[in-house]
């Protein structure tokens, strides 16, 4: 079962379920981060090009890794669509992670604008991966709008606070027939593992690694945690007793009487 366990997004098959961010750390660490994370997909942002900047992040990303440009900086659907088109023109495929924020304090995604942008970009042939505030009705609207995956946040972006929205994410996993990818807020490998145990298809992390003491080592820890969580999910977790106890040892043959 494990050998055939692949994540399919936009017609591409992935054996890794760890989507790596590339923000807030040195370009020199990207190669080791990708390698130690076992990542096959990495997120990028689009910004005004700098004429003086000689080094480009694309020169640091190992070949064969799928690029997932985000639309960060977009405040509405139109701006997200514009950034997505520019990202595609950069010539690295048609994947896009929609990220639309009006709120600069908590950086929470604007679900209504995200649905609008998803509809436009899916029609234009993009493989659309919308970042969203977890909500079942919104997730259904995103499915109908042509999303390829749904990416609910675990807690506020960059907070490393873990699965604050776990109950709703579980509902999305149970009810939505697309890969659910937890994005934002996952701070520790144990939280990534827990999300995978719940049945999410993949985990995306950036700040957890960028703010860790040793980035490649943390990338490796996340990789193992995500793989462990996936195996546990595929296995099916053992049941939880409502009350009482259940012995693991035989209840006969005691050395007494």
């Amino acid at each position: 079962m494990i050998e055939h366990d692949k994540l399919v997004i936009g017609g591409k098959e992935f054996t890794s379920r760890f989507i790596l961010g590339s923000g807030k750390y040195s370009l020199n660490l990207i190669e080791s981060a990708v390698r130690d994370a076992g990542a096959q997909m990495i997120t990028l942002a689009v910004r005004r090009a700098n004429t003086k900047e000689q080094e480009n992040i694309l020169d640091y990303i190992p070949k064969g890794v799928t690029l997932l440009p985000n639309t960060s900086g977009a405040r509405n659907a139109e701006e997200a669509v514009r950034i997505a088109r520019l990202a595609r023109e950069l010539g690295c495929g048609n994947f896009v992670k929609i990220e639309i924020m009006r709120d600069s304090k908590y950086l929470l995604p604007d679900n209504a604008e995200t649905i609008r942008a998803t509809e436009i970009l899916a029609t234009e042939g993009f493989c659309v991966m919308p970042y969203m505030y977890p909500d079942l009705n919104v997730a259904r609207d995103l499915v109908n709008a042509g999303a390829a995956t749904i990416m609910p946040l675990a807690s506020p972006i960059g907070s490393n606070k873990g699965l604050a929205t776990r109950e709703i994410i579980q509902i999305l996993v149970d009810e939505i027939d697309l890969p659910i990818i937890v994005d934002a807020g996952i701070g520790r490998p144990s939280q990534a593992c827990e999300a995978m145990e719940m049945g999410v298809a993949a985990v995306m992390a950036n700040t957890a690694l960028a703010t860790a003491g040793e980035l490649p080592l943390m990338a490796s820890a996340f990789r193992q945690a995500i793989e462990a969580g996936r195996k546990a999910y595929l296995s099916g977790l053992g049941r939880v007793l409502l009350r009482g106890a259940s012995a693991s040892d035989p209840l006969t043959g005691f050395l007494r009487d």
């Binding site: 990028l44 942002a45 694309l58 514009r82 990202a87 950069l90 960059g158």
Partner: protein
């Protein structure tokens, strides 16, 4: 004047190709937008920048 990435530049009448040739941008690593529309690479030669045009030149950077 043409506005390129927020800066006014005296390059009216110049094509996108000619403008880029005089800069340090790496053509394979950038995308160009003029007045909100993508300028595809194959039309850099024939796209003439005009007074009042707003041009954005972007590339990938690290992000989450």
């Amino acid at each position: 004047m043409v506005k390129v990435n927020g800066k006014e530049m005296d390059i009216s009448g110049v094509t996108v190709s000619e403008y880029l040739a005089g800069t340090e941008y790496e053509p394979a690593r950038i995308a160009v937008e003029k007045n909100g529309d993508i300028v595809v690479k194959s039309s850099y030669d024939e796209t003439v920048l005009q007074d009042g045009d707003v041009v954005e030149i972007v590339s990938f950077v690290g992000g989450g």
